[in-house]
């Protein structure tokens, strides 16, 4: 039995190369100098080179600098890497996103003699991820538009109606003024009979137009409309603050500003049901994409609101959403705490999965939290949740001061 097993192992070792050649996964084997010793057809296809062009060449030629560091750690220190996202630089200069794993190769004495890599082309997956991000962005814009439209339409409603009524008042007052003009002319002619009759007409006109009321209400209508237009101006200002820094570029993000401007935008939608508590600490800027972080906060706030909405239902109760920011030497923490329905224990572990939703049809894409997750991951951060059914949920975000996310 023992003998047979050793024989099998030797056969296997002899067939090593044929196994590699027949794998449906791209495989590269390099020696201690990082020179390619063996490849298989999927690897040759992804790299776009023939085996003759690859064998003996330094693998670094095709690796991005971050990818080169991985193989060096494997060759020098025997470190292993699993499914790390990186890039290949192809012969025509094109950059190809890949997921790559590295493992050291040892001889019978336990000495490292090289490393083996398996990798896959992530182009399709990356495109899919971008589509998901885009879909979720559109869904957030939809929610945003609904909230803003609602908030603008209230003041617009009364400004529009008041303007119409003020135009009526002006035409009423014009008729009265015409009576005043006629009275002036009559007075100039010093015809007392005419004066009396025109004066009586003017009194009738003034009564019909209800001049006292019109004059006092005109002032009131103007003041109320001014207040309404001031409210709309504020909403537009909030929108401007929200979309500020929307260059889509990586920069230094002011997390307090991101949280607060997002809260201002979402607030109108939730104000009927929610008491919002804010506790912002003095926190440093973090490297990242401000607009993407706002998308995360928007998702968390909308979720918090929906959880409260579901909990209070038809009762006249309200819920509380608490926003907190703080920092330590490692990074910035943001918590979004709600007193909503909470998430059942068996679902907590799945809520960051794409297309997983606990909401009713039409109330969520199931992409919100998975998008949050990938955005936070892109920032090199973490997102965690604690939840108790019937009490509420707390989402905590950690964003590192030293960004380790991708730089594309």
């Amino acid at each position: 039995m023992e003998q047979r097993s050793i024989g099998l192992r030797q056969d296997l070792l002899r067939n090593d190369d044929s196994i590699i050649q027949n794998l449906n996964t791209a495989v590269l084997v390099v020696d201690l100098d990082g020179r390619i010793m063996s490849t298989n057809p999927p690897a040759e296809q992804i790299l776009g080179e023939s085996p003759a062009q690859l064998l003996g060449e330094p693998v670094a030629r095709w690796l991005a600098s971050s990818g080169e560091a991985l193989v060096r750690s494997t060759l020098e220190r025997g470190e292993r890497f699993r499914a790390v996202e990186s890039f290949l630089t192809l012969g025509d200069g094109a950059r190809l996103p890949i997921g790559i794993s590295w493992a050291p190769l040892m001889d019978a004495d336990g000495q490292r003699y090289g490393a083996v890599a398996t990798f896959q082309d992530l182009t399709g997956i990356k495109q899919l991820q971008n589509q998901v991000l885009q879909t979720e962005k559109l869904a957030s814009i939809g929610q945003l538009a609904a909230g803003v439209a609602h908030e603008v339409n209230n003041p617009m409603g009364f400004i529009h109606a008041n303007l119409f009524q003020m135009a009526e008042y002006v035409s009423d007052l014009r008729r009265v003024w015409e009576g005043v003009e006629a009275l002036r002319k009559a007075a100039a002619q010093v015809d007392s009979e005419e004066l009396r009759s025109v004066g009586a007409q003017l009194t009738a006109l003034a009564e019909e137009a209800d001049v006292d009321f019109v004059l006092s209400d005109l002032g009131k209508a103007i003041r109320e409309s001014q207040e309404g237009s001031e409210r709309i101006r504020h909403i537009v200002q909030d929108l401007r603050d929200f979309s500020h820094q929307d260059s889509g570029q990586r920069g230094m993000a002011d997390v307090n500003q991101c949280v607060d401007s997002t809260a201002s935008i979402v607030w109108p939608m939730m104000k009927h049901l929610v008491v919002l508590e804010k506790e912002y600490g003095e926190i440093p800027l973090v490297p990242g994409y401000a607009m993407q972080l706002k998308q995360v906060f928007m998702n968390l706030l909308v979720n918090a609101y929906q959880a409260i909405e579901e909990r209070v239902g038809d009762t006249a109760e309200t819920g509380t959403v608490r926003l907190t920011t703080r920092s330590d030497e490692t990074g910035v923490f943001v918590t979004v705490e709600d007193t909503g329905t909470g998430i059942p224990e068996d679902r907590v572990s799945r809520i960051f999965d794409p297309f997983f939703t606990t909401k009713s049809v039409g109330n969520g894409t199931g992409l919100g939290l998975s998008t949050c997750y990938s955005i936070v991951q892109r920032h090199g951060g973490r997102i965690d949740v604690e939840s108790t059914v019937g009490e509420g949920s707390t989402f905590q975000l950690w964003l590192p001061l030293e960004g380790s996310g991708d730089d594309d």
């Binding site: 609904a146 439209a149 609602h150 908030e151 603008v152 339409n153 209230n154 003041p155 617009m156 409603g157 009364f158 400004i159 529009h160 109606a161 008041n162 119409f164 009524q165 209400d217 009131k220 209508a221 109320e224 207040e227 309404g228 009927h272 049901l273 038809d314 006249a316 309200t318």
Partner: protein
């Protein structure tokens, strides 16, 4: 709560938590010959509804404590025969079947068109015939996307 003169004519109750909307409606309807009762709170309006009868009840949708739909449901329980209208700043948030369920006969969208608002109220009060059974509904802006046909 303000109660507007005249003290005769059809009694209309309007509920909206936005006082500016109420005063704009009072302005618009000043010469229409209605007894206009306005209230900023649903609770106050419910008290009023249990103390006297109305010819028409108009309610905003998004209000603290109770939605317009829930309020109109209560109205239907207290005064089943009174016609009911809903005002909203955002039509998409209200499913049509919900409106039908609470027996709302029309949806007024903010901002509204003055002439259409007045016509909608007259129709709801049965003071003006409904031109075609499917057409009398929205007093909102004339854009067809905001039209809501309820019958």
């Amino acid at each position: 709560m303000t109660i507007e003169l005249p003290r005769s004519g059809p009694a209309i109750l309007v509920v909206d938590d936005e006082p500016r909307i109420l005063s704009a409606l009072q302005r618009s309807l000043r010469r229409e010959g209605y007894q206009l009762f306005t209230s900023e709170s649903v609770q106050e309006a419910l008290v009023l509804l249990s103390s006297r009868s109305f010819d028409l009840v108009v309610s905003d949708h998004k209000m603290p404590g109770m939605s317009g739909i829930q309020f109109l449901e209560e109205v239907a329980r207290l005064q089943p025969d009174v016609p009911r209208l809903l005002i909203t700043g955002w039509t998409e948030e209200i499913p049509m079947e919900e409106l039908r369920r609470v027996g709302a006969c029309a949806l007024i969208t903010k901002p509204w068109d003055d002439a259409r608002l007045k016509a909608t109220l007259r129709r709801a009060l049965g003071m003006e015939p409904v031109e075609t059974p499917t057409e009398w509904s929205s007093a909102g802006s004339s854009s067809s996307s905001q039209e809501s046909r309820l019958r």
